[in-house]
Symmetry: D3
Subunit: 260 residues, 6 copies
């Protein structure tokens, strides 16, 4: 069983972090690796950056399909490109916001979300609406720490995120916290111990939920809305993403994925 975690930004330290987070929970018999795109923004804190992260994410899914990966975790809390990635993959593709919400809803009636910058809060609400957790979420709160400062030991990030989580639970009357950035994954246990309610890291949640789906053979249908995209000209800078009809596979392959 091979689960691949894709960090959709191009910062190696975050790729390593989410790989460690996923491997720590995957359990016996599950091969986990973590990759990042060959293109795109260093971190994702705006819709613009989210949009620019998607081609690189798709590149990695196409590569994974060629390598027989069974399931993917998209390790950015905006769940960028999820539907597009699903059209390319034979197995489950889970976003970490989606997975975090699901896991929290399974152990708590109402949860809070603590995210990075306040400009990302509306996207979190949009995802909550889409996945059906608008009523289950008691509040989304920003701690105003940029993604790439989260692992800077001089930023006081752990203390500030912990404080934000404690305030959120108090203010919202919630029973759990979902951490709103893959970069917070290393904080999970410390914060949970500090605030006394379950704290959900989306990377860990997505990895184990993907495994759960694989163990039960629950794979997407590959038809209808999420059928493979039809072969069609793609021109200009993005020409490498043009899909040409696959010969011996049921999934089309990218004509020239700029791997590595």
């Amino acid at each position: 069983m091979h689960v691949r975690v894709i960090n959709p930004n191009t910062t190696r330290a975050m790729t390593d972090l989410v790989g460690r987070s996923a491997r720590a929970v995957a359990g016996p018999g599950v091969l986990v690796d973590a990759v990042q795109p060959t293109m795109g923004p260093a971190s994702i804190e705006s819709h613009y950056e989210e949009a620019l992260a998607v081609p690189g994410l798709l590149e990695q899914v196409a590569l994974g399909e060629a390598q027989g990966v069974d399931a993917y975790v998209v390790a950015c809390f905006g769940d960028p490109g999820l539907d597009a990635a699903r059209e390319l993959a034979r197995g489950p593709v889970l976003g970490i916001a989606q997975a975090g919400f699901h896991a929290a809803a399974l152990v708590a009636r109402r949860f809070s979300v603590v995210t990075t910058l306040s400009r990302t809060v509306p996207r979190a609400h949009e995802l909550l609406d889409r996945y059906g957790f608008a009523a289950a979420c008691a509040g989304v709160h920003a701690c105003e720490i940029p993604v790439l400062e989260l692992d800077d030991p001089t930023s006081g990030a752990l203390e500030r995120v912990t404080a934000a989580c404690a305030r959120a639970v108090e203010r919202d009357g919630s029973d759990a916290v979902v951490l709103g950035c893959a970069g917070m994954a290393a904080f999970t246990g410390t914060i949970a111990d500090a605030i006394g309610v379950p704290v959900v890291d989306g990377v860990a949640a997505a990895t184990t939920l993907a495994t759960a789906l694989l163990r039960t053979g629950t794979r997407p249908s590959g038809r209808g809305e999420l059928a493979p995209p039809p072969p069609k000209p793609v021109t200009g800078l993005l020409h490498p993403f043009q899909i040409t009809p696959g010969a011996s596979t049921t999934r089309p392959v990218l004509s020239a994925v700029p791997l590595r």
Copy 2:
């Protein structure tokens, strides 16, 4: 890691069936067993029977706590007694309707539910509303087969449930089916092969989702709404369920659970 599946009715064949379903997917390192109450109805097809199944379910959770069980699956599609059971348990307690909806929503935008008798359809809708999947569910359909006929080879149950699933997907335009009874667990693979979309058995889903939560250390907070119930007199026939303050445990124990 010890996951216990509780069949809340008193029919041994169903207990055995859900135990097999759960063990088949649990994966390495997970101990799964299946139990049933010492009291209650032979099957659950009405609100009355659901209500009468709950004391026996609580009995089994209390017993499980004494034995160190890590998580519970409530193997009836009405998710009876879920909140009450959660007040007694230290670890996660998942209902199979809840788990089935979650699993289906992770691989499909919209799913159909195929259940037993039409009188159970409104309860399914109530649970969909509660868990946030009302929009994700494209339809709930009954096949009008009583629970205890599902494993009767002369009932034609497999064929009829398969046909109901195929019709549901066609009519609803959905991408997945959730089977609406623990007694359908053995049909899952056959139906999936027949209809070409993922088919979710709630017992398998709940078992693997519970495991996912345990691997990530995501346990309920044990405070607030779902804190242990306070010690208090319980009289008459139900006196054995009276809670007396526990001495050396953080959870109260039933004064005299009529085990066996």
Copy 3:
């Protein structure tokens, strides 16, 4: 016209209180009595206790049916066992949360709810959702007084509940208050005079709404979801609740209700 108020806990003083509340408003031509189960918890403040109260409630409905009762009021704000009770009864069965919400919504655009312990707040929200009053309810507030202290004159309960109601109306900008416990019934008039908006006691509301339904001949259909439960083995401690097919009645009768 015979309306029976069932206090689903086993505390006689509360049974007497809800009987007085109901009789005070029933009007001419309506016979009101109040009963309590022979089994179950002394008060209901958790999901566990709510679950354990239901068998005794069902016992009392079965008994009432044998006695020709026309309608029932379930006098606990969690509306425990409502659907199960409806399967046994020929006439209307109203919960006091349900009835309180309906009455408040008929005279106010938005109402507040003031309940006992904060751990019961989520159940109130669940019922508001189910009955369609989520938007009409401006807030649910706990006053942190246990049920059985409400009638203790040394507890200061009246003053504290009044203060909680005043704060709720001020904070929520609401036009009415629904009292969230049958044990607050005696406070209704005093609080209404103090805060200047209508205050709804669910017991009084349910009694008069049940009478309204009876006067117009509006009885449940007795078919579909809420048809009588099918005869079926019930074993162990709960065997007395087994239903055997009735001979001369359209409703099944409990085989051996442990009445007095």
Copy 4:
């Protein structure tokens, strides 16, 4: 206890009909009378007519206040002018759509509505949304009989409405029917007998619900949104509706209601 039914159109036969419907269910100790405005349309089947019916309705509420009426029923299924009427009245004012929905929701999980012309269906949906019964209503169906033909024995109205109700219950899978016009009041019992589920006449429902509110002392607050309208110039044809500050009453009175 004085409940006044206001037929907001100017057709005497309908006023008499709704008066009979209300008196038949009011019960002992309740004085019921029925009135109609001195102005306005002969029946209400469009938004235009609904708007033109409101001044006459307000005239009758103002007159009722001067006469000490305790509660009002607005006997048109569009619930015209309800909020405006509530600003004038000290006691409850109930619309028959509102009351019909409430009564049906108290005995059935899902109900159908059968109304007159299809052009009135969207208004029914609008009221269902406003009152919180959108999910409880399984369908709104028109029988395409104009209001004033309902009591024409040659129109076959009873048969056609009965057939429409039977079809609605079958198609919607509902447990009750709300009749969507005051002019259908006389059909209630016959249809209920024919189709086997409860059939709710809004006039009867509103009369008994108003009585229920009065018996429990549940009156609107008379402040906030629904406080009496402020005195202010009203000119032209509608000058008689100008409110001048009342001398000895808490409610303003119309300066010159063209009574009789």
Copy 5:
């Protein structure tokens, strides 16, 4: 292209103000005029006044239809009589609350509303629900200034409304403000400059949106719910509003609109 703004109250200064607001934005090729009814209240701050404003509004729409007006703006934030007016008009009829919400939603994810008296807040919420903007609106706030004081230079209205807008944006975390009264139209630019987010005047929004609809030929269907009202007796004071079948037009005409 002829757009008529109807001020539904009878205060000339407001009619002039809304005319100026509309003309300032209409653009080349659009004829804009502003009218007021011959009857009704001096301002609209209650449901009673709103109801009394509708006949005069309908009078003006009927007159406009005879004059070939292409579209109408109803310049009161309660959107009084909108559906009735639409039954009379061949072209679009827009309310300023509706138009303000639409415009704000096109440039902001979430907007705040700042209205006059707090008693009008629930009506604003009702309209938000009806038009689908309940989730897009982050809050409705009253500044407690009566409509007719808005243009009194000694009232400090501009300062107070500006302060209310600033507070609303801060508290709600919103990206735009909709002004909740036609009488605030002159404040728009000043407030926008002061608070740094777009401020929407409903009169300007409705005028330009109506023009947008006309340019694209998007006219209501004139059938179904909003077909012309059927000819029918209207008696008493409101007899002039009786519709008699038109001879040479597709729209009925009022029998005797008391123009001027």
Copy 6:
């Protein structure tokens, strides 16, 4: 006033078509032009293609900003990249799904959507949810014609889309139709004449709504969620999209947009 229509696919014929559609309705004083990206898919019928269309769309917005464009129309019914585009633009950016829904909702209570392939239906529902029109939309229907066949005179597209619109209105009981593809723009008038209800082309709607916003000075705030994206490294194939801090502008500029 300069409104730019961006066709986010790379098919020149569609760019020309949407330009004509927009210019036909823009009115005097509005400069309209139409552009297409230098990169991306030939048409957009899957999430994968939608994702690949976004970089080229952003390229064109950045270019437009440098040229002083006042507002943008994104001429693809999936509204791809809308939020990202808004972060780059000073003025309004409207999607044609969004605009089509708004226009239809202004003249009809309920509308139908007729789109191309059924695999695009779920995206339409997602947008309806996001913009608040889920209740206003009575149905989304596919006519199963690929985008690039719409202007093929031998495809019978006009007849098939017309038939689909007629069926949709009949089945849904709706009052308007929104065409679900920019490629249907030329059909609007013909279909409207054929089916008797307003038919909305999103390109025309977006162009005139954008003009309406500009005339009233309603521009996005440029702060909060939709503030310009922060300067940040973008590597690999997408490096040209890296934002470097602008010197003399308030908006950052792309470092090396591959224009032309």
